[in-house]
């Protein structure tokens, strides 16, 4: 396998109240194409910051980020937004669905930015909802869905534009164990059957165990990398 994401000598600093805080420290990391990785670590370890950098939501203070050979850190704001729309699918802890849109409309949302015709947009959104098993909830508004169902809609929204990479920030953080299992199974399926590269931030060891590889961060540095016991990672 080849690396989809290449991070070299990444430094990330934040300035708060006149004080500069270094969150990531000269970090090198490759994420292989088709992998499913979990990022773990205590609060403030820099795992969400690292995820944001991979997804093009933030820029590093130093170092380089290449995704599929493209230097994400050198892109302009507009280029970055366009790249995210086409190459990255996002799954958030709080789902972040728009309450005024139905499930299918929420899934359709990222396609509004592409030159896809309305009929085609709707068709693709319906297919994405079928993949996550919510064909019968297409016309439901988020308030009519359970937490697990909302997260599945969020995953459908993440895959509707057929991205290279899916980033998930605590995707099971707001869910009960059963719903969390369903979401993790869905992510596993997207990875194994559709070949999506997934990077997931989690606090939950049980969730991390479902990934093929778990990386541990502490104080802005990668401390350990371990392959899942269920499915040893060869890389």
């Amino acid at each position: 396998m080849t690396a989809l994401i290449e991070l070299r000598q990444i430094v990330k600093e934040f300035t708060r109240g006149g004080e500069t805080l270094r969150v990531l420290e000269n970090l090198d990391l490759d994420v292989e194409r088709g992998s499913f990785e979990a990022l773990m670590g205590p609060s403030g370890s820099g795992k969400s910051t690292l995820l944001n950098l991979m997804a093009g939501l933030d820029r590093p203070t130093g170092g380089s980020i290449a995704v599929d050979g493209k230097r994400v850190d050198r892109m302009s704001e507009g280029e970055l937004a366009y790249w995210r729309a086409n190459s990255v699918g996002f799954v958030f802890q709080s789902y972040n669905l728009l309450p005024v849109l139905t499930a299918v409309e929420n899934v359709e949302l990222p396609l509004l930015l592409s030159p896809v015709h309305a009929t085609e947009r709707r068709k693709r959104a319906e297919v994405a909802l079928k993949v996550v098993g919510l064909t019968d909830r297409m016309s439901h508004y988020p308030r009519m869905l359970s937490g697990g169902q909302e997260q599945r809609v969020s995953i459908a929204r993440a895959i509707v534009a057929d991205p290279l990479l899916i980033v998930a920030d605590e995707p099971t953080g707001d869910l009960d164990r059963r719903s969390a299992d369903e979401i993790l199974t869905l992510l596993e399926t997207l990875n194994s059957e559709m070949g999506k590269t997934i990077v997931m931030v989690t606090h939950d060891p049980a969730a991390a165990a479902r990934a093929k590889l778990t990386r541990h961060l502490d104080k802005g540095r990668l401390r350990a990398t371990e392959a899942s016991a269920r499915e040893p990672h060869g890389a």
Binding site: R84, S94, N96, L101
Partner: protein
């Protein structure tokens, strides 16, 4: 689903708030339109003045009179077709002192030639001309006081108290109406000679002002200059203005009130903008994490700003249309008619000017745009990573 429909759907998020904001804008539009209609009704006489009438009055002030012999001098001007004159009588109906209406002592034959937009609905001009104590009244005034042809009307005047018993008696000989939207239908006209004969010696043979009708409307200003030049060497000099200027200078006396109304109508628009701005800002604050998610999945700052602006403009347009929808029946079916009947002297034609109705809706839209500017800018500047962390 489109960008616009997505923005508009946000209005359904908090229906009560949306409804109250629309009502707030609507009430502001109603108030704005009423105030602008007051100004329009007041200044309408100036705007719709006849182009061929010149009003000559005392150069010093409107309340000082002119010698009556000036009328003949003015009539002899080559470009003057006809001239007439009038005195402000300041009459009041005893027992109804609070009911204001204009009372003018006029030259009966020529006055209605110069003001030929006044037409008789009942009685005739001839009957009025022949009866020295006769009077003609506007149809609105006649309806208000229940006066009919042949009725005896008694008035008193603070300016011209009758030397005998302070009151003046008249017989209604005619009721007039008008083809002009801005002419007062509540004026009481009577013979100047009747007043002159009964007035104290000191104020006899004087007229308040002279109104001339010119042969060529395009030369009205020149005629005014020529009239004034004629009396340059007299003790009493004149100031002649075309009717529009004369009406405007008359309104100048109310300029403070008009300016105050102007200011208040502007303040109302400002309040409306702040109400809208507050609603939009609240919405933006509540949706920070959603905007963060939208930015994450590829929406640009301009898209987010666009959603905020469209939402504000839909809101303000709805408020504008509802406000206009409420104003029209309020003015056309209720308030306008009532004011014309009861305060016809000040508001002979109280209707919303069409241009102002259109302007109110466009102003609502413009203010919606302005009100959303700051929240839209703030929403577009949201940092994605911070917005996603925020839990509302």
């Amino acid at each position: 689903m489109t960008f616009a429909s997505l923005a508009a759907r946000n209005l359904l998020r908090n229906k009560v708030r949306t409804l109250l904001t629309i009502l707030g804008v609507a009430v502001a539009v109603v108030t704005f339109l009423l105030l602008r209609t007051v100004i329009s009704a007041w200044t309408g006489a100036a705007e719709f003045a006849a182009k061929d009438r010149v009003v000559s009055r005392h150069k010093v002030t409107f309340i000082m009179s002119l010698p009556k012999r000036y009328v003949d001098t003015i009539r002899s001007q080559p470009d003057v077709k006809q001239a007439t004159y009038a005195n402000w009588f300041g009459g009041r109906s005893p027992g109804n002192e609070r009911e204001f209406f204009a009372t003018l002592a006029v030259e009966p034959k020529t006055y209605f030639e110069v003001y030929d937009e006044l037409t008789f609905t009942e009685g005739s001009l001839a009957a009025f001309v022949e009866d020295k104590s006769g009077a003609v009244v506007g149809d609105v005034l006649a309806r208000k006081f229940g006066w009919k042809l042949g009725d005896q009307v008694v008035l008193e005047s603070g300016i011209f108290p009758n030397p005998v018993d302070r009151t003046w008696s008249f017989t209604v000989r005619g009721i007039y109406t008008t083809t002009s939207r801005t002419a007062d239908r509540s004026t009481f006209f009577f013979h100047w000679s009747y007043l002159n004969d009964g007035a104290p010696q000191i104020v006899r043979d004087e007229v308040g002002w002279v109104v001339s009708r010119t042969k060529d409307p395009s030369r009205t200003a020149d005629v005014g200059v020529a009239i004034d030049r004629t009396f340059d060497s007299e003790d009493t000099q004149t100031l002649s203005q075309d009717e529009a200027s004369f009406n405007t200078s008359f309104l100048a006396g109310f300029s403070v009130i008009l300016s105050a109304i102007d200011l208040v109508s502007g303040v109302i628009l400002l309040i409306m903008m702040l109400v809208l701005g507050n609603t939009i800002a609240m919405g933006v604050r509540e949706r920070t994490s959603e905007y963060g998610a939208m930015r994450a999945i590829g929406f640009l700052p301009k898209h987010i700003a666009g959603f905020v602006v469209i939402e504000a403009m839909v809101l303000s347009a709805l408020g504008g249309v509802v406000g206009l929808g409420l104003s029209v029946p309020i003015v056309e079916k209720g308030l306008g008619g009532w004011l014309e009947q009861n305060m016809g002297g000040m508001f002979p034609f109280f209707r919303i000017p069409p241009v102002m109705a259109v302007a109110a809706v466009f102003l609502s839209l413009a203010l919606g745009l302005l009100a959303s500017a700051l929240p839209a800018w703030q929403a577009s500047k949201i940092r994605v990573t911070e917005a996603l962390r925020r839990v509302v």
